[in-house]
């Protein structure tokens, strides 16, 4: 089950915690993977760890030109593209009343607009090949909201609507589009929490632990697989039960 041999995948934000876990998991299932992000060294390090079957294609997703160039570059490296994982994401937290237009725009540009542009570019080839998997990495916050994250919550909720609209358009071409919405996942950011903050978070997580990148990656592998062909337009929450929909 969930064999991805011969599949060609692009993972944005592969230099980050969750994206790295996603790239490792797709590779472990047999997919050939393009690793993207802005920090070339981090991408090269992951590529070295994984050995063969991966390519490094850096791209700054805050620049429209560089976004437009990414899918063609990935298709050239892989000889096609079957799986697109829009995982790159940023936060610029601020109280709503204090939020600068710039903070709003930066977050929407990387989290939402880049995902739109990459999906638009990828879906062309997927339609031709009559197979495609797009997985957008959202967040529990896109469904629940969160104080201080008006921009981020909007970007992640936007991904859910975009996912549904595109899913409906391309379902007849054997292309699925879904969202994976992580809850609290361990990262350098959560490592910095003190014991008290950690306890406060865990009090709201029935599973009693923070999630790992692997928990998110497993959901992505499933949605990328042939077995998930009949699942589209959905948001799969990976959050230890902290919010249930």
């Amino acid at each position: 089950m969930f064999d991805l041999s011969g599949r060609k995948a692009l993972v944005t934000g592969a230099s980050g915690g969750i994206g790295g876990a996603i790239a490792r998991a797709l590779r472990a299932q047999g997919a050939e993977v393009v690793l993207s992000g802005t920090r070339r060294e981090a991408l090269e390090a992951l590529a070295a760890e994984l050995g063969g079957g991966v390519h490094v294609v850096p791209a700054d997703l805050s620049s429209a030109d560089s976004v437009e160039a990414l899918v063609p570059a990935a298709e050239a490296a892989l000889g096609g593209l079957d799986v697109l994982v829009n995982n790159a994401g940023v936060t610029r937290d601020n109280l709503f009343l204090r939020m600068k237009d710039e903070e709003w725009n930066d977050v929407i540009a990387v989290n939402l607009t880049a995902s739109f542009r990459l999906s638009r570019a990828a879906v062309k080839g997927m339609m031709r090949r009559r197979f495609g998997r797009i997985v957008n990495i959202g967040s529990v916050v896109g469904s629940t909201g969160n104080p201080g994250q008006g921009n981020y919550a909007a970007s992640k909720a936007g991904l859910i609507g975009m996912t549904k609209a595109l899913a409906a358009e391309v379902a007849s071409r054997q292309i699925t589009v879904n969202c994976v919405a992580p809850g609290f996942i361990t990262s350098p950011m959560t490592d910095a929490l003190n014991e008290k903050q950690r306890e406060a978070i865990l009090a709201n997580v029935p599973a009693g632990r923070l999630g790992g990148g692997d928990d998110v990656a497993a959901a992505v592998v499933y949605l990328a697989s042939s077995e998930a062909a009949y699942v589209t337009g959905q948001t799969l929450h990976v959050n230890g039960g902290m919010a249930m929909f």
Binding site: K124, M127, R128, E169, V170, S172, R173
Partner: protein, 78 residues
């Protein structure tokens, strides 16, 4: 019939799975040939590949019949 017209009709028949005799120059992709809007996008992509041309979005929007496609390609394909 020109070579371009032949090739256009062949693509339309293959892509939409319709009878060749229905693919006349006046046939409207959506109203007469049962295409949906995504089919029309795919047809344009197929024409681009077959004739090695780029069909910009504003031109693509004006291609609604088989004849429109033939005319565009006769003018723009090498």
């Amino acid at each position: 019939m020109s070579d371009i017209a032949e090739r256009v009709k062949k693509i339309v028949v293959e892509h939409l799975g319709v009878d060749a005799e229905k693919v006349t120059e006046n046939a409207n992709f959506i109203d007469d040939l049962g295409a949906d809007s995504l089919d029309t996008v795919e047809l344009v992509m197929a024409f681009e590949e077959e004739f090695n041309v780029e069909i910009p979005d504003d031109a693509a929007e004006t291609i609604v019949t088989v004849g429109d496609a033939i005319k565009f390609l006769e003018k723009n394909a090498a």
